[in-house]
Amino acid sequence: MTDDELRRAIEAVVMVAIEPVTPSLMAELFEERAERVEAAARELTESYERAGHGFVLAKIAGGYRFQTHPDQALFVERFANRDVSHRLSTAALETLAIVAYRQPVSRTQISALRGVNVDGVVRLLEQRGYIGPVGRAEGPGQAVLFGTTDLFLERLGIDSLAELPPIEEYLPGPEAVVELEDRLRPALGD
């Protein structure tokens, strides 16, 4: 298969796919090495960008898919009347963030961290398909452990969990620690 044939084949298969197509699946279909497919897909992505198309070839959740160029959002929204928002509440978002960074994690662990019951929120996130059971904890009870799904990656437009912003950068600074301590210190404690 020449480079050109490979690129054409990728374009055709990704065009009819409904979900992102992994390089390994394409490698199987084309009887080629996955690395070669990956390299060709990357080249395609770049060539589209250079040519200034209204679509892009994006790598999402480990696979490639065609999607519209972000700067065409206005027309796409007008056309599809898309209701992408379905915005999550702050509580749901924070719970989602905990699952994303702490996975695999149980309801009880999330609850302990948030200090409130999270059953409803966890169920909502599960129903939306952003998180799902990924295993069970050892020990008594064998709590269900949750992790994020490919849909979660898709919605964030990222390729893998490694692309999540590092949580360290979001830890509160020393001032916040002092302030929180002040809040917690009882009058009799010192």
Binding site: A58, R87, A91, L93, G120, I167, Y170, L171, E179, A187
Partner: protein, 272 residues
């Protein structure tokens, strides 16, 4: 008492109770710093304030504010439930509500939560950027023959009916915003109705017996408040041998009035 300094992110919702009037986050501060006894603070007005705020001025407050309010209210409720019900492992009920160890835990927990809250904003940004692109979902062109296995293999009509029920009945959206106040449990009003059926059958029982099967503190609290409510209405008589002793509950004979449904019991509004 210290001047009313605002701590942390301003929640911006005021509550009014017999012992405290002002921003709810200040109330939390006063409670955690032992300047106010949580037992003196009725939480129903706090919840009322939330509901009123939400209904009257939902445009004025963002989801952020309302969620924060709920979180603070939930913490207050949790503190109150801890204080009301000393667990069997707590030897001395006179112990400080928050020991140093517990405070340290709480501190690290709050710090971590703040990090997740901050990163959640970033995740929203990512999602919003990503939403500017729409994926192709059109799929296969016509004319291709698909010999893929039957995806419905092993699925029968019953499975389908169940799937439909899941898809339509289990829409959990209302749970999102109320989850902070443990929406899965009964409201006080519902607990009263439940107890009004259960207690006449038992005649005499104890609080432990009545709540032994319950999984969470808040469920116990709700039953407790319901019992107090029934007591106020003269439907039950309560007895307690000694401080922190077992609470005995006796249904007042004749209290189950003929033709009066449980719904007829008039309640103060607790809203959960």
């Amino acid at each position: 008492m210290r001047p009313p300094v605002r701590y942390g992110r301003a929640v911006g919702v005021d509550v009014s109770t017999p012992v405290f009037e002002g921003p709810i986050d200040l109330l939390l501060h006063l409670v955690t710093s032992h300047e106010l006894d949580i037992l003196d603070v009725p939480l129903a007005p706090v919840v009322d304030a939330f509901v009123a705020t939400m209904q009257a001025t939902k445009d004025a407050y963002g989801m952020e504010v309302l969620s924060e309010f709920l979180l603070v209210a939930a913490i207050l409720l949790e503190l109150k439930s801890q204080k009301l019900l000393p667990g069997p492992d707590e030897v001395d009920p006179e112990d400080e509500l928050l020991g140093w160890d517990e405070r340290d835990l709480l501190l690290s927990r709050l710090l971590e939560c703040r990090a997740y809250a901050a990163v959640a904003d970033r995740l929203v940004q990512l999602a919003e950027d990503a939403a500017r692109s729409a994926p192709r979902v059109s799929g296969l062109d016509e004319g291709f023959s698909v010999h893929a296995p039957d995806l419905l293999e092993g699925v029968d009509a019953r499975d389908l009916a169940e799937a439909f029920l899941r898809a339509t009945a289990e829409r959990p959206v209302p749970r999102v915003d109320l989850s902070h106040v443990t929406v899965d449990t009964l409201t006080v009003a519902e607990a009263v109705e439940e107890l009004a059926v259960e207690l006449p059958a038992r005649r005499s029982t104890t609080f432990t017996e009545l709540t032994g099967h319950l999984g969470t503190r808040i469920e116990v609290i709700v039953r407790f408040l319901a019992i107090l409510e029934l007591c106020k209405l003269g439907r039950v008589q309560l007895g307690q041998g000694r401080t922190f002793g077992e609470l005995s509950i006796e249904w007042v004979p004749g209290a189950e009035l003929v033709g009066v449904g449980v719904g007829a019991i008039v309640l103060d509004e607790y809203n959960g």
